[in-house]
Amino acid sequence: MADSAPLWAAAALPLLLAPAALAVACADGRSVAPVREVLRLLVQQPRRTRAADALATRTGTVLLPLAAVLAAAVVPLGATPVSDLGDGVVWFNAMEALAWAAVWLTGWGPNSTLSLVGGYRFLAQGLAYEIPHMLALTTAALGAGSLRVTEIADAQRGLWFAVWMPAAFALYLLSAAAMSFWGPFGQPAGRDLAGGVATELTGVGRLLLLGGRRLLLLTSAAMAVPLFLGGGHGPLLPGWAWTLVKTGAVLALLLWLRRRLPGVRMDRYTELSWVVLTPLAVLQALVVAVVVLP
């Protein structure tokens, strides 16, 4: 069992994640435009809408990046997470679930139809992705017989979970994209809604929401490494380097897939999710349960 990192790591975590998220955004757009956009948003004059619920908007925009960073606290870099919680998987899931509240509040706050539609779209998408996602997390925990993230990583010294739980891994990647409403699942902030939940946001609020979405994507991609890709275990390189390499590979896969997949409407994804993906996830969990049963 690995130790938790020292206390300063908690402060360093957001400082580490934010530039990484910016780098992901740059790689996603294949340009340095996101850097310019960040600088522009930092100095932009805020704009207000009439009868807005400013408290709701502010809570939502702050909550999204906060949830991503809190979720990242249990992701081990090498063998050491910031906090090695005994039920790290559940913690990770709970922090991601905060995105539901965050995105909906951001959509509700500005008193604007388009952003509220975006918020509702995210809830519908959430209902679709959450059940297979939870089952995928459960499957990984079941395979290792532990809810502690470092123990799940250690259980894959021999064989990666991605190899013998391919369905759970694929579902996890799908839901990672869906929960950060990005790529094919970008409808809550879609162009047909003039930006959806982010329509009325300006300045730092917009930066927090759009940045929080990247942070969520980054965190869930990083979590795929200890859950399914053997964590920091690997030959030659030290643990932290393997974690970074594998996270980069997962992100590259997601970015590559994004350019090859059409947008998915959340009502269709809901039916697909409940009729096909959820039974698939249950079957995968059943197979794993039968295998690990002593």
Partner: protein
């Protein structure tokens, strides 16, 4: 010491947020005040050493309140509270009743001769819970499972107006179901 202070702060926040639920005009604010109150309860549960249950409460309540907000706004005639109106009845009797009940409960709490704790908390309460649910309490677990399944069926029956005859025709022989929205799997 720190945990005692934290417990007090969380307790005050929980009650304040709980009262605010019924003071806010905006349904979004009321729902998320309830969420704040329940998250404070989850914080107290975490402080009591029940890590797993505390985090599960956070997870469940967040999702539940996000869904609840949708229904709150759907079924209130004034969801944003832009035109405040009173939607109350029987306030005085209810206030008297609740105050009396609280006085009674508080007297009970403060005067009761609470027994001393038997035994010490286990090193891993989560493990104990799992062993208990899968061992001596398996009947509870199965009842919960059945209740959840029955609820799924009952809620669908209650909430939908369209049955199979609406979807597949009077003789149930339609080639494809007549749904208001097209589905996602092969249709």
């Amino acid at each position: 010491m720190l945990s005692a202070v934290l417990a007090w702060v969380l307790a005050l926040c929980a009650v304040t947020a709980g009262v605010l639920v019924f003071r806010f005009d905006s349904m979004a604010r009321a729902t998320f005040a309830l969420l704040a109150s329940l998250l404070c309860v989850a914080g107290e549960v975490l402080l009591l050493g029940l890590q797993y249950l505390g985090v599960v409460i956070v997870l469940m309540m967040t999702i539940e309140m996000a869904v609840m907000a949708v229904f709150m706004i759907m079924f209130m005639m004034n969801p944003a509270g832009l035109m405040p109106m009173a939607m109350l009845h029987n306030t005085r009797a209810a206030a008297a009743l609740c105050a009396a009940l609280f006085a009674l409960l508080a007297t009970g709490v403060l005067t009761a001769d609470w027994p001393r704790a038997t035994g010490r908390p286990p090193a891993d309460p989560t493990f104990e819970l799992g062993m208990s649910l899968m061992g001596p309490q398996i009947l509870t677990m199965m009842t919960l499972g059945t209740a959840l399944f029955a609820t799924i069926v009952a809620t669908v029956v209650l909430a939908t107006r369209r049955g199979r005859y609406d979807r597949w025709g009077d003789d149930l022989r339609a080639a494809r179901p007549d749904d208001p929205a097209r589905g996602g799997v092969g249709r």
